[in-house]
């Protein structure tokens, strides 16, 4: 069964007098446990599509069913709560809270979910260990490398036990080694814990690891195909 079902999604922006059609009739379904890359040139609509799926923006037309709920019809207040409980986000620029430690950053979203302190500390610790940062739990983001910060961001995204994780160009600011480490962790989480990842990317190394590749161009799906991931030697 699809965890996300998108039908006839359309979105236009008005840049001065010119109408830009960012999404032009998108129809997609995502299954649980997918590891999907959305690719395409700049301006193809990748980020707009992720924003729509993540409930950060509203379409002009169409529906997005997540777990049976059409999130395009949810009020702003309900949508925030929906995001909190169902969607994990990994951003290109990590976007951690700089005044909090790695542990506190992961805990924060669970605090928003009103999870008791002892439980959230335990889970935050487990998640940071699973992304290989068990020894850096008390480090603030400024003391972590870009790759380590992005791993904290993945742990934070997982903390709320979301139905899926949306990652917008997660490796764009990472070097090769950090990209490999991050992809390894994401693949493992996908394989071992059935975490669903949907990410937009320009990075060929990331595309090669995806199980499914969706190519967008001018707001339309040009290709939607399965991919056999490249296995690292």
């Amino acid at each position: 069964m699809s965890i996300i079902a998108i039908e006839n999604l359309e979105k236009s922006y008005h840049d001065s007098e010119i109408e830009v059609r960012a999404l032009n009739g998108i129809n997609l379904n995502f299954e649980e446990g997918e590891f999907t890359a959305i690719v395409g040139p700049s301006g193809s609509g990748k980020t707009t599509l992720l924003n729509m799926i993540g409930g950060l923006d509203k379409p002009d037309r169409g529906t997005i069913l997540i777990g049976g709920n059409d999130i395009t019809r949810l009020s702003s207040r309900k949508l925030i709560d929906f995001r909190l409980r169902n969607i994990g986000f990994v951003f290109q620029s990590y976007n951690l809270i700089p005044v909090l430690t790695a542990m506190e950053n992961v805990e924060f979203i669970m605090h928003l979910q009103k999870i008791p302190r002892a439980d959230r500390e335990k889970r935050a610790m487990e998640l940071l260990e699973s992304v290989g940062l068990g020894d850096r739990i008390h480090s603030r983001p400024s003391k972590l490398s870009g790759g380590q910060q992005q791993r904290v961001a993945v742990a934070r995204a997982l903390a709320s036990r979301p139905a899926f994780i949306l990652a917008d160009e997660p490796t764009a600011n990472l070097d090769s080694q950090s990209t490999r480490n991050l992809l390894g962790i994401m693949e493992r989480l996908n394989h071992e814990e059935q975490v669903t990842f949907i990410f937009s990317t320009h990075d060929q190394r990331v595309v090669e690891k995806a199980h499914r590749i969706i190519v967008l161009e001018d707001g339309k799906v040009i290709t939607d195909r399965e991919n056999i991931p490249v296995v690292e030697p």
Partner: protein, 408 residues
């Protein structure tokens, strides 16, 4: 956790926050200390005026208040009133006075004065004049030759007389005839009100009644000192209902300027502090706006991951309140220290003494503020923090998460 995040957030830009905190602290230090000086001065003036000039309550023949004619005595004499006053527990003391205008003259000069015919022992329980006679200035109706009179230092200067000098009081008697008597200065007092000192002389009531040709039980005024000043209104009401033919006035009615000073001082202080806090509030708004501008992406991220608008608002409001409260507490501590110190030492404005005394103020100022002022001020500081957070928080809530997270 949001409280802890908010507290940590204000120290992200340590220098900027410290500048705002110091601005608030110094603003409040200046404001509170100025208020303490004003309040102390006002309280001192009220306290001195009540204990030296007006007392808490006075009873008169209503006609006497309109026209201070020597014949407008309290009709019953003071004894029946004294009998009632002695039964009221909150009344500490009372003093009957014969009071009228006269001309005081010496060999050198003459001037109009208010003659206060008093019973020295009763009067000393009501007013402090007896204690304001310096060691070398004689005493309160003590010793000496002739009919004693206690005069103010300002009058002494005016008449160019000194202790034991003779002065002549000239006035109308009960029949409207011009009369008078010679008095020997037995004591010279000095209050902080040179106009009062120049105007008021104290003589024995029996001496003056004899010269007036009036019964010794008559009086124009009965001054009352309260044990508990908070009881003044109740006792005033009681006396007015007991003696409907008399006019019972409290010190605010006797000296309306003093009453207004007392009533409006608190209002004025809060207005004064309010203006200072308002100005500081704009500084906080500016700081918070800069902080939000710098954190657009982070705020967008928080909204994206599911931090609702209330929590986002709460976080920004707490940052603003913490900022203002930190400065506020430092300012309050500094101001309290300075107020306590100067209250102990006094602020001597001796070089302006003449001017101060002309308007009835003591040139040594003792700043004072009550606990309620500090409690209310702390509430005002918190309120300022909340108020200052509204606009920045509104700006933050208007951010669209999708745009904010990609903001560079």
């Amino acid at each position: 956790m949001i409280w802890s995040v908010a507290w940590k957030n204000i120290w992200r830009n340590r220098m900027r926050s410290l500048v705002v905190v110091m601005a608030i602290a110094l603003g409040l230090l200046g404001g509170i200390f100025s208020s303490a000086v004003l309040k102390g001065t006002s309280d001192q003036r009220v306290r001195e005026a009540v204990s030296r000039e007006t007392s808490h309550l006075q009873l008169h023949n209503p006609k006497y208040i309109e026209d201070q004619e020597v014949t407008y005595f309290i009709g019953t004499g003071y004894k029946p009133i004294a009998a009632v006053l002695d039964t009221i527990r909150s009344v500490e003391a009372w003093s009957p006075r014969v009071k009228f205008m006269a001309m005081a003259g010496s060999a050198n000069a003459g001037i109009g004065v208010m003659v206060n015919g008093i019973d020295p022992d009763l009067e000393r329980q009501v007013t402090e004049i007896h204690s304001l006679i310096c060691d070398t200035c004689g005493g309160w109706f003590k010793g000496g030759r002739g009919v004693p009179i206690v005069v103010g230092q300002a009058l002494v200067k005016k008449l160019k007389v000194r202790q034991n000098s003779k002065i002549i009081l000239t006035f109308q008697d009960m029949q409207g005839n011009l009369t008078g008597g010679a008095f020997r200065i037995c004591g010279i007092y000095r209050t902080s009100n040179s106009v009062f000192d120049e105007m008021n002389v104290f003589v024995g009531r029996s001496d003056i009644c004899t010269l007036l040709g009036a019964d010794s039980l008559l009086s124009h005024e009965i001054a009352i000192r309260m044990k508990d000043p908070d009881e003044t209104a109740r006792v005033q009401k009681l006396l007015q209902s007991t003696f409907p033919d008399l006019k019972v006035q409290n010190w605010k009615e006797i000296d309306p300027i003093l009453g207004m000073l007392n009533d409006f001082m608190d209002l004025w202080l809060y207005l004064f502090m309010g203006i200072i806090l308002l100005a500081l509030g704009f500084g906080i708004v500016n700081t918070m706006l800069m902080a939000i501008l710098e954190r657009t992406r982070e705020l967008g991220m928080l909204a994206a991951i599911g931090m609702n608008k209330f929590r986002l608002f709460l976080m920004i409001m707490l940052e603003s309140v913490f900022l203002s409260l930190t400065g506020g507490i430092i300012g309050i501590i500094l101001a309290t220290g300075l107020t306590v110190y100067t209250r102990h030492t006094g602020i001597n404005l001796g070089s302006f003494a003449e001017g101060f005394e002309k308007i009835g103020y003591n040139p040594v100022l003792y700043p004072s503020l009550d606990l309620y002022f500090f409690i209310n001020l702390t509430i005002l500081v918190i309120f300022t923090g909340i108020l200052a957070s509204l606009y920045p928080a509104r700006q933050a809530l208007r951010l669209r998460p999708a745009d904010a997270v990609r903001n560079e």
